[in-house]
């Protein structure tokens, strides 16, 4: 197992942890933060491939991560705003309770 694979394994595990959190917890905030962890795991991949890539010229990986972080920030802001909006209507932020659109 070389360093790149170590990095990828790290990111896979982080992804799994985030996924587990997003699936297991009922609190919407924690679920959102689990999603953030998953995004971070993806970013780790970008950096890892950039770091160990054969062609070192373009900084595409780094730039991709920068954009990804920006999008994550937007996502967090909107997500938290949604949580607050849900809380205002339902007085709860438990995700299993937020099933008004249930089919």
């Amino acid at each position: 197992m070389n360093a790149l694979q170590l990095c990828l394994a790290f990111s896979s595990l982080l992804f799994a942890v985030g996924l587990a959190g997003a699936l297991a917890r009922s609190n919407a905030i924690i679920v959102l933060l689990g999603l953030e962890l998953m995004l971070n795991a993806a970013n780790i991949n970008f950096i890892a491939f950039w770091r160990f890539s054969p062609s070192s010229a373009p900084a595409t990986g780094v730039i991709f991560v920068l954009f990804s972080i920006a999008v994550a920030a937007a996502e967090a802001a909107v997500g938290m705003a949604l949580v607050i909006a849900i809380y205002r209507h339902q007085k709860t932020i438990r995700l299993p309770d937020a099933t008004d659109l249930k089919g």
Binding site: A3, L4, Q5, L6, L8, F10, S12, L13, L14, A16, V17, L19, A20, G21, A22, L23, A24, R25, S26, N27, I29, I30, L32, L33, G34, L37, N40, I47, W50, R51, F52, S53, P54, S56, A59, G61, V62, I63, V65, L66, F67, I69, A72, A73, A74, E75, A76, A77, V78, M80, A81, L82, V83, I84, A85, Y87, R88, K91, I93, R94
Partner: protein, 171 residues
């Protein structure tokens, strides 16, 4: 080299797991902050300083703040705990699903012919990054800027209380 990576990875994973398992919401967020800092440390390890600082600035400085605010603003929420059987079932399902994903990903990582070339990190100066962002990726940068602006406006609209400002409350 790999030892440093292992330490960073273990700290990150450990704090992330602790955050996902913890009972207290606030503690979870603090643990997550540690885990994000760990990811930043990974970036440092990989030689992407700029990204590492951006990660700290945005995740520790902004996203954790937003999360903390959300927690404080929703403090009167009804009790978090689900009835035990449902929660347990969900937890088991979650762990199974996550373990499955992890297994698949790890298998793929382990069996892919991933070649490592060059022991040195590609040298990317901040100046070069700036030129790239403003040059080749200018359109994407514009789009991301617009996205962020609109997302923040949307967040304000969503989170704003519908109530009007009371008259006579000016300073």
């Amino acid at each position: 080299m790999s030892a440093a990576l292992a330490i960073v990875a273990l700290a990150t994973l450990g704090s992330a797991a602790a955050a996902m398992l913890g009972r207290s919401l606030l503690r979870s967020i603090f643990m997550l902050a540690v885990s994000w800092a760990g990811v930043a440390a990974f970036y440092m390890w990989a030689g992407a300083q700029f990204v590492a600082f951006a990660q700290v600035l945005i995740y520790l400085g902004a996203i954790s703040m937003v999360a903390l605010f959300a927690v404080l603003l929703t403090r009167q929420s009804r009790d978090e705990a689900s009835p035990p059987p449902a929660a347990l079932r969900r937890a088991i399902l979650a762990v199974v699903a996550a373990a499955g994903v992890a297994a698949v990903l790890l298998w793929a990582v382990a069996h892919s012919p991933l070649a490592v070339s060059g022991s040195l990190a590609p040298a990317t100066s901040v100046r070069q990054l700036g030129f790239d962002l403003m040059g080749r990726h200018a359109a994407a940068l514009l789009v991301v800027g617009v996205l962020l602006t609109i997302a923040l406006l949307g967040a304000v609209v969503l989170a704003a209380d519908g109530a009007q400002e009371r008259p006579g409350d000016e300073p």
